[in-house]
Every structure is written in C-alpha cells, then in structure tokens.
C-alpha cells in the first residue's frame, strides 16, 4: 500500500501528468453524470435546425447535419468511446500478456510458434485486419472493440515476452520450480508480479491510441450503429460537412484530442513513476559543467604559491526531492607539479565526488558546487567560462575513470576515441593523429597498436581498456591526471601492471597525479602524500608513510586495518620504495 502511495505521489509530482489527470477527471465526471445532466435528447433529430453554429439558442455547441444537439451527443458519445477504449485496452492487455507470458516462460517451441503468430499478426496492415474482422463479424461497436483488441495484442505479447523470458532462469523462479510448484502457479505467483509494471506501462501508453483507433473504426462506419453517438462516428458525420460547418467535426475532434492527450500525459507520468531508474532520484540530464552556487567567492586568496592545483573549502551537494544533501563539506587540497596525492576513503566518503568536482564533472542536476575555490595555477575553475574549462579538460587536466567498459564509448573504435581526444585540443591531420596514437599506445605498452586501434571496447580485455584510457589521458601531455579508482575493476595482476605504468609515466613526464582509491595498499604503492576522507571531509592528511605508520584518526586506523593482509602493505612498501619527486 505504501508503494502505491509513493507511486501516486510521484505521479502527481509530475506536473504534466497531474494536468492530464485533472483534464481526464473533469471529462470523466461530466460523462458519468450524463444521465442526470440537463441535456437534450442526443438522438432527437430536427432537420430544420441542422448545422446551427455553436452558441446558438438551445444548442450551446450547435447542431449536426440532422439537427441533433451536439453537446448532448458529445457527452453521451464520449461516455461510450471511453468505455470502449478502456475495455479494449484491458482485454488486449489480458490476452496479449497471456500470450507473452506463456511464450516467454515456456520458451522453446511454444515460444517460436506463438511469436511467429504474433509476427504474422503484426505484419498484417492493422487497418485491414480491423476492416476484415468487422467485415466478418458485422458492424457494431462491440465488434470494432474486438478488432482493436486483436490488433493490439502483439504489443503486449512482445513487451511481456521479453521480460518473462528474462525471468525464466532467475534464481527465485528456479527455486520455485525446485520446490515443486506447478508451471501455472509459478507463472501467476512468481513471474506475473514481476511483469506487472511492464503491463501497466504498456496499458497506460496505449490506451489513448486505442481510443483513437476505436474512433477510427467508427469513423469508417464500422463502429457504433446510428443513432448512437460515439466520438468516432461523430467525427465521421462531421467530416461530410467539414467545409461548410467545420464545428460539427471540430467539437468531437477537440474532445478526442483532449482525451488522448490527457491519457498520453498520464501514461508518460505512469511510466516515469514506475521506471526504477527514476526512483533513485536522478531527475535530469547532466549539463556541460557542474552548476556552481557559491554564496560568496573567497576573495584575495592567491593559493599555495608553488601548487599546481589548490583546492580550498570545496563544498559539493546533491539536490534530492527532499532537499539538498551535502556530499563534500569543505575540502582543502593542494598538489604540487609532479606530485602524487592519494585520496582514500570508503564508498560514500565523497572522494570520487571531490575528484569529479575539480573539473566540474559532477552531473548537474542533481550536483551543485556550493562553495570553495578550485585553483589550477592561476585560474579559479569554479568561475571558468565554458571555453576555458573545455580547453583544460583533456588538455592540461586529464581523467582516468574506474570502469573503462562503461567509460569508453561502446560504439566507437578505441583508436578513434583517442584521436578525438587529440583533435579536441590540437589541429592535427588524421595521419599525424594516428601516428600520435601509435606513440601513445606504445607508451602505455599496448601490443599490436594497429589491431587495437580498430577494436571496439568490448573486444578488449579489462587491462587493455584501461591502458587505452590512460593513453587517452596522456594524449595532450597533461600536467595533472586525476585517476578515479583506475584499478578497482581489474584483477590483481593487471592492477599491478597498471600501477607500475602510472608510476613510470609520472616519473618520465613529471605528471602530477591525484589518485583516488579505497585501498591503502594501492595508494601507498604510488603516492607521495595521502588525504583521508570520511563523511565528506578530510580527516587526516600527510605523507603516505607518516599516515600509514602513525595514523592519528581512528577512521584512518580502521582503513589501514581493512587492507586485506596487513603485512602485505608493508611488504609493498619494502619492495618498492617510493622515490622522491625529482
């Protein structure tokens, strides 16, 4: 019940959907009240008073070609059309979902046969199918309803089958099967509830369409029988006098339009409200750069004279439905040229948000930078115009992200992605850019650069992908690389290789590195200094060895203790002594 309340709350929060609901509710109220409203007889003809314009005496909306009161016909007609449209949707939902469930759950031959049938049905021009059905069954609104139902079965069948097929081998279904449940019970008790959202979404998005289709059939004379009014037959009658009395078609046309539109609005709202991705509270698409809302710009601060990157009092928040949550609450950081700063903390500590906020890559909405200064040499990045920000990103400041399978474009060859990085900052001919990619791939020790350039991300191994990402970060000889858990998604041996590579590159190219990780062992292996983050704040900072050996903060101690084998961290320190930045 709580879920339902949440659903309606979300639905109503969507202003468009709420407007749609309001319009539909109004129409429904009028239509349901039809028997008690002071309306004229919708079927009483008076040819002498035909085609009266709207606002005529005794006929607010005018009269049709037989002199019948349009208002009365409109109200009664909508009543019928709505009833038929809703009934058709529900019937199509039940039948189509049954076919889809059976095909998806049983699979094999049943699936092939049923879906071939559905394919055949879909390939049949829908209007003709409807025409043929009505021609066989005879005219009448009920038969038109059947026709619309048959035509719409495939939509439900296809959508439901997809989901049901996905559920077939899920653990809970297997478990139910092992516990000796019959297929019918499994379908009803285990599969159906999980398929329900798809059915609801399909109903809510097709119901408007169904009303339009039923109206279409009536419009062709295949629906309601005279003198009974429904919106479609009213449109059809109005069409004959469209040129000289446009209101006769316009009035029902407008109402069809209103009903279908409100249904569509509600349908969209329902879809959004059910869609689990939206439940997590990411309402919009991210903009180019994180929004900055600093109440006051800390003035007169020149920063650390020697620092490449100097961050003071950085605050980042996320807007949620219930208010603004501060994720980073005033962080100070400084990185000297060529220095490696590690940021460590558990998930949710704000370390990744801090890293992304540096070049304003926190998705916004919902992210907002609410305070502080991020100074890169002399520029305050939080005040940088879009052009400058774009030049710095990938130019002097480069990023390496955690999971290269999702962070590389899945549909572009990796070579092209690196070339794009180069060409975003340097005018280089295609040939020269390719040669540069060769160099970069050699630098990150990728074998067979030609083959790899032609490959798509999914064709490479995890380690190869991360090397491509690093090559991409190096493309424009950056001064600073921000690596956000670059090795977390890799297995241990590959991880070591990537760490060695980063360490070596840093040495060769005098790169400054901000290295984010939750693993003290990894940080200790390549960083000079470390900042420990907890709850959006830096709780401790200092040279790696100092912090590791003499943690002052209890949280730091716990983090160190969390390194899988405590002894191993020391071992790394012993075998691979850190070199001081030269």
């Amino acid at each position: 019940m709580k879920a339902a309340r949440g659903f309606f709350a979300r639905l109503l929060r969507n202003r468009m959907a709420a407007a749609g609901l309001l319009v539909l509710a109004l129409i429904l109220a009028v239509v349901l009240a039809a028997p008690i409203l002071p309306l004229a007889d919708p079927d009483a003809t008076d040819p002498a008073r035909r085609l009266l314009p709207p606002f005529s005496e005794g006929a607010w909306l005018g009269t049709d070609a037989l002199g019948r009161d349009l208002l009365a016909r409109l109200v009664w007609g909508s009543r019928l059309s709505l009833a038929v449209g809703v009934a058709a949707s529900l019937l199509a939902a039940v039948l189509g979902s049954t076919v889809g469930l059976l095909a998806g759950y049983l699979g094999g031959w049943t699936d092939t046969l049923l879906m071939r049938g559905i394919d055949t049905l879909m390939a049949f021009p829908y209007l003709l199918l409807a025409l043929a059905i009505v021609a066989v069954l005879g005219p009448g609104l009920l038969n038109a309803l059947y026709a619309v139902v048959v035509v719409n079965i495939p939509f439900f069948a296809r959508n439901v089958r997809g989901v049901a097929a996905g559920l077939r081998h899920r653990e809970f279904v297997d478990a139910a099967r092992l516990s000796g449940m019959g297929s019918a019970r499994i379908l009803l008790q285990e599969v159906l509830p999980n398929v329900m959202p798809v059915i609801v979404i399909t109903v809510s998005t097709t119901i408007g369409w169904m009303i339009l289709e039923t109206a279409g059939l009536s419009f062709l004379g295949l629906g309601s029988q005279p003198p009974q009014a429904d919106l479609g037959s009213m449109l059809g009658e109005g069409r004959k006098v469209l040129i000289n009395a446009p209101h006769v078609a316009a009035v029902p046309g407008l109402l069809v339009f209103l009903i279908v539109m409100s249904m569509n609005l509600i349908g969209d709202g329902v879809r959004d409200a059910i869609d689990p991705r939206l439940r997590t509270g990411l309402p919009g698409k991210p903009g180019t750069a994180t929004r900055v809302e600093r109440p006051d710009v800390p003035a007169g601060h020149d920063g650390d004279a020697g620092a490449l990157l100097d961050v003071r009092n950085l605050k980042v928040a996320f807007d949620t439905g219930s208010g603004r949550n501060l994720a980073v609450q005033g962080v100070d950081l400084a990185v000297a040229p060529g220095e490696c700063l590690g940021i460590i903390g558990e998930s949710g500590s704000g370390k990744s948000v801090t890293a992304l906020a540096l070049a304003r890559l926190v998705p916004s909405p919902p992210g907002v930078i609410t305070g502080g200064v991020v100074r890169f040499e002399k520029d305050d990045l939080l005040a940088a115009p879009p052009g400058l920000l774009r030049r710095l990103r990938g130019g002097r400041i480069a990023y390496v992200f955690q999971d290269p399978l999702t962070t590389l474009h899945p549909l572009m060859r990796v070579g092209d992605q690196v070339i794009e990085a180069i060409q975003a900052h340097q005018r280089q001919a295609a040939g020269a850019a390719r040669a540069r990619v060769h160099e970069l791939f050699a630098a990150v020790r990728l074998p067979e650069p030609d083959r790899i350039m032609q490959a798509y991300p999914h064709e490479l191994s995890g380690g190869q992908r991360q090397r491509v990402s690093i090559a991409m970060a190096l493309a424009n000889d950056p001064d600073l690389i921000i690596a956000d858990e670059p090795t977390t998604a890799l297995d241990v041996t590959v991880q070591a290789g990537i760490l060695d590579l980063l360490a070596e590159l840093r040495r060769q190219r005098r790169l400054a590195l901000v290295f984010i990780s939750h693993d003290f062992g990894v940080i200790a292996r390549i960083c000079d200094r470390v900042a420990v983050m907890h709850g959006g704040e830096i709780v401790e900072t200092g040279p790696v060895l100092d912090v590791l050996h003499r943690p002052r903060h209890s949280y730091t101690r716990r983090l160190i203790a969390a390194v899988p084998v405590l002894g191993r961290a020391k071992e790394i320190l012993r075998t691979d002594p850190l070199e001081a930045p030269a």
């Binding site: 394919d119 003709l128 043929a132 059905i133 109206a215 890559l361 879009p386």
Partner: protein
C-alpha cells in the same frame, strides 16, 4: 551478417504463407462475393453463378487456394477482376506510389523527430523542451484526416500555394519537381504522428544516454558540447531509436489509407480497402503480401542498420 539476413529472409516465408492463408479465409468468410460486387443490384443467383464460373470461384475453397498458391510460386499473382489487369502490375504500381509517400514521410518524420527529440533532451525542462513536448502531444493526438483536410483548405484552396491532390499535375506535370511539389502536403500529414513518436523516443533515449559514463568521459576529454551531443550521445541513442523507426515504417505504410484517400494518392493502402470492398480476393492477397513483406523487410533493414551501428550485437 549475410547469414543473418538470409536467415531472416527465410523466416519471412512462413509468415507470408500464414498471412495468405488468413487473408484467404477472411475473404471467404466475409459476406458478399465478387459476383455480388460486380453485379450490384443485378445480382440474381443465375448471374452470380455465371460470373463465379467465369472467375473460377465455383470450385472448392482448398482447390482455389492451392491453384493460387501454385501460381504464386511461379510468380503469377493472378488477375484482378475489378481492375481488369494483372494483380502484379497494379500492386507494384500502387506500392511504388505508397513507397514514395511513406518514404518521404519517414525521412521527414525521422529528421523532424530526431531534431525535436535532441533539442528537447538537450534543453530538458527548458522552454524548447516544453514547446516540443506540447507539439508532439498535439501531433500524436490529432486525427490525420482532419489535419490533411485542414492543410488542403489552407495551402491549396485559400493560398493556392500547393496542389490539392494527386501525384503529378494533370498538365505540364511529370518529373521529380512536380512529384515533390505534390508530396509536400500528404507527406507532412503522414509524417506528423511518426515524427511525434520518434521525437518522444529520441528524447528519452538521449536523456538516458547523456547520463552514461562515456558521455562524462567525452566531456573530460574536452570534447565540445556539439561533439558530445551528436558524436557521442546521438550515436548511442540511435541504437534504441532505429528499430522504432523501422516499426514506424510499417505503420506509415499500413496507415497511409486515410492520407491516400484525402490526397487522392494512388497508393496501396487505398487499393486494399477498395479491393476488400469489391471482394477482389486476388488483389487483396497480392496487396497484403507486398505490404507485409515490406513491413518485415523494413524491420530487417532497421535491424541491419542497428547491427552496423552497434558492433556489440553482431555475430
């Protein structure tokens, strides 16, 4: 890929076979027969029997169907009694007219729908988004015959800018320019719904994609916003949009009947409705087969494009 396409084409055969059987049964079940349609008020049993004999309709249904099937295998779709010409000629002529109309409408719908979808995704919740969303809602909720007639009355009758109906001018016509000229109104009318559907889908696909990690990567690389939207986001969004364009192609092909009627476009949708009316079973068979096959082929084409676009699906 060729094996995949071949497989799909082979799968088309049973669908077409099933369709022809359904069409045949439906036409047999519908009251009224060709003789009735030819004779109209003069359909005495005697006359009906004579015409049925002439048309070969006095044989048993299975025999009729098998004869037809045998001829189809040899490429002969029979002869339309209501139009007095070979079914194949008529169907091809009408289908090409529909293809031109539907093709133009689909291109228009895709261009407009994609642009509108992109704009509305990029400016999500902004004025442009609201305008597009509203326009799309109007578009998919309007009866197309109504829109068609409105456009005729305004552009052709009131302002005399565009022709009312037909495919070519009766006089001094012919040629591509004349065709395009006659296409504007019907193609626009037909494109409206499809454009709306495509725009809605493009918008949600773009919004989905713009949240992905690889878009953040592109921004982190310093790619311009235009590059982010068109090179990165749109490319990925197209993978979801293309199949829907394929499905829309089917709808546009099958749903062109109203537009073909209003604009007197000599297309196959209108032909099928007329053929059902005159109980011209061979013509209905031929038309349905072509329309259904083209529907399947359009979807296949969409799948192939999708596969070319997304290397992950291939194999």
């Amino acid at each position: 890929m060729p094996a995949y396409v071949l497989g799909r084409l082979l799968a088309l055969l049973p669908v077409l076979f099933g369709l022809s059987l359904i069409v045949f049964l439906i036409m047999a079940l519908i009251p009224g027969d060709p003789a009735q349609a030819i004779l109209g008020s003069y359909a005495t049993p005697e006359n009906v029997a004579r015409i049925n004999r002439d048309l070969g309709l006095d044989r048993s249904l299975p025999v009729q169907y098998l004869t037809w099937l045998g001829n189809v295998v040899t490429g002969d779709l029979g002869r339309s009694y209501s139009l007095n010409r070979p079914v194949l000629d008529e169907v091809l002529e009408r289908f090409s007219a529909t293809l031109i109309l539907a093709g133009a409408a689909l291109v228009l719908a895709s261009v407009l729908g994609l642009l509108a979808g992109i704009v509305s995704a990029v400016y999500q919740y902004g004025l442009a988004d609201k305008l597009v969303t509203f326009a799309v809602l109007i578009g998919i909720s309007l009866p197309s015959f109504w829109l068609g007639l409105l456009l005729i009355l305004l552009f052709a009758v009131r302002w005399r800018l565009l022709p009312v109906s037909g495919m070519y001018a009766i006089y001094g016509g012919g040629g591509l320019v004349d065709l395009l000229w006659h296409l504007i109104l019907p193609a626009t009318t037909l494109a409206v719904v499809a454009a709306g559907v495509i725009a809605r889908l493009t918008r949600s696909a773009m919004l989905e994609v713009l949240r992905q990690d690889f878009v953040r990567t592109a921004r982190a690389k310093g790619v311009s916003e235009r590059g982010v939207v068109f090179r990165h986001a749109l490319k990925a969004a197209m993978v979801t949009v293309i199949p829907v364009i394929g499905i829309q192609a089917g709808f546009v092909l099958g749903g062109a009947v109203y537009i073909e009627t209003v604009f007197q476009w000599p297309g196959i949708g209108r032909m099928l409705v007329d053929a059902i009316g005159t109980r011209d079973i061979l013509l209905v068979q031929g038309g349905v087969l072509v329309v259904a096959a083209s529907y399947v082929l359009f979807n296949l084409l969409a799948d192939v494009v999708q596969r070319l676009l997304d290397p992950r699906i291939a194999a």
